[in-house]
């Protein structure tokens, strides 16, 4: 578990359970704080949608390779969920210190992952039809 958490953290350039960001810097513009909170919530909703999609793929769909696609979706969900709070805290900390927002590779991973799942699902469905 610890090694998985470390890998996910390094992937998103954040720690999974960082400290309270309010201990540093000064209060930023309240609009930025609220925008950061909405961004965090959007990532959480993405994770929840991927969880539901992964469970649905494994339990409802029945074609060769559907389990593999479900695992891929659930893995993406875990990566998204595990880094969401860390990303929020890192952004909050950077805003309070007047620094640039920390970069993250998670959006690229998410785009590549969902594209890969969609392409593989299409190919598997076509192959299953013959």
């Amino acid at each position: 578990m610890a090694s998985i958490a470390r890998r996910l953290s390094s992937l998103a350039d954040v720690s999974v359970i960082p400290r309270d960001p309010r201990t540093v810097g000064q209060e930023p513009d309240y609009r930025f704080t609220l925008a950061n909170e909405r961004t965090f919530l959007a990532w959480v909703r993405t994770a929840l949608a991927l969880t539901a999609a992964g469970l649905g793929t494994i339990s409802i769909l029945d074609f060769n390779g559907s389990d593999l696609l479900g695992f891929a979706l659930l893995t993406l969900s875990l990566a998204t969920a595990a880094t969401s709070y860390g990303r929020w805290a890192a952004n909050e900390r950077a805003m309070r210190l007047g620094e640039s927002l920390p970069p993250s590779r998670l959006p690229q991973l998410m785009a590549a992952g969902t594209l890969g799942v969609a392409v593989v699902a299409t190919v598997l469905l076509i192959a299953d039809a013959f």
Partner: protein, 121 residues
């Protein structure tokens, strides 16, 4: 005769007309997240009770109830945020953000484990 437009919450204060009402949008984002959490909880419960270890359905029920509590909090929080006398300030929901982030991670991990169990047996 001239009269000021007055809504059910009174005249719009300056700090809520020129900034895109971020408080209200954030309150709605919390509500959407709570609803998504309940849907994910129902999906998890459905899968484990029909195909997997049914006892894990309790976790799904806890998740749905948690989503309901979050929705209730978000709805009441939103009504507070509509108060036109509220100063333009944001209070980061650090503890709640942490709980939501970690519990979503737990649900994703449990779902992955359940999927493994279903596939391997």
């Amino acid at each position: 005769m001239h009269s000021e437009p007055v809504g059910i919450f009174g005249p719009q204060p300056h700090n809520r007309t020129g900034d895109g009402v971020p408080h209200e949008r954030t309150g709605l984002a919390w509500q959407r997240t709570a609803i998504a959490a309940m849907v994910a909880g129902v999906a998890f419960t459905r899968v484990v009770t029909t195909q997997g270890p049914a006892v894990l359905g309790l976790a799904g029920i806890v998740w749905v109830l948690g989503g309901g509590l979050l929705l209730n909090w978000a709805a009441s929080n939103d009504s507070l945020l509509r108060d036109p006398h509220r100063p333009a300030a944001a209070v980061p929901q650090v503890a709640l953000t942490r709980v939501v982030g970690l519990s979503t991670t737990a649900l994703a991990l449990m779902s992955l484990v359940v999927a493994l169990i279903l596939t391997l047996r």
